[in-house]
Symmetry: C2
Subunit: 143 residues, 2 copies
DNA sequence: ATGGGTGCAAAGGATTTGCAACATT
DNA sequence: AATGTTGCAAATCCTTTGCACCCAT
């Protein structure tokens, strides 16, 4: 049951559970599609009709501050989130804006938590380019 | 002379030179501070009094599309740019918002330009945390 | 009853767009 | 003349804030 996993993930990371927080975390743990705030809102507003975008904004920010989710800033137009907090590589398609996991690539590890006196607590590796779907489409158009 | 370097960087990357574009590129090549659009605008509006923010926005986007500069999306509140297009690691301070180069860390290389059918033409590695300056400040407050 | 959580409406801020004026070839 | 470039003003869109209400302890 993903509900219990969501509950555990909140408590383990020092976030008090509430109906909304549990629902948002459960959404992240069942949709590894790198949803934006709007995606999460649209996905839950039927289930929780009183849900507001503000709550989704606040909650996702809270999650990332507590390392309960990863905030992904790969797209310069909007932020998105990932419930998978283990390090892995993200690919961004500059054409369609999709964010894809590249589990085959090895995620980097800093040499140390302390680099030149700066304390590192988060690492993100981003690859950008054109995804296979968009590449196929543009290949077709050439004929 | 940085002017000639700026000119070359534009032409080499297929960007037609103009007064504004040269000035903006020269600014990038003399300020490795990861300036935002506003920074570049403020830095140049004395030299070019007619300069508009719109032009800075358009020009920097153009540069990054032509690989003449790197667009850095490490800060979720605003984009910044780097005239150094060789791969290196960026550190973002979550407290003061500063972006620092970590030349000591090794920048990753994808195994191939084509990963799972996706074409990769840009790689960015971001470290996030608290910078040494902010760490010192918060240490002092404890006394 | 107290403190945290939620949600509405409004504000804020970064970025883009439409379009007319301008520069350059 | 034709084409690309610039810059103002307005629009857009994402995100945050202020504040009142609500819920749970």
């Amino acid at each position: 049951m993903k509900e219990q996993e969501a509950y555990k993930k909140l408590v383990d990371n020092g976030v008090r559970p509430s109906v909304q927080r549990l629902a948002i975390m459960e959404y992240l743990l069942t949709h590894f599609t790198h949803p934006t705030v709007e995606d999460v809102y649209q996905g839950l507003c039927n289930k929780i009709p009183t849900l507001s975008r503000t709550t989704v904004y606040n909650t996702l920010r809270l999650f990332s501050e507590h390392q309960a989710a990863q905030m992904i800033t790969i797209d310069d137009h909007r932020v998105c989130y990932d419930g998978n907090t283990s390090p892995h590589v993200h690919f961004f398609c500059k054409q369609c804006g999709k964010v894809i996991d590249l589990f085959g690539e090895k995620a980097p590890m800093p040499n140390s938590r302390l680099i030149d006196g700066n304390f590192v607590d988060e690492v993100q590796l981003y690859y950008k380019g054109i995804c296979s779907d968009c590449k196929k489409k543009s290949d077709k158009q050439k004929h």
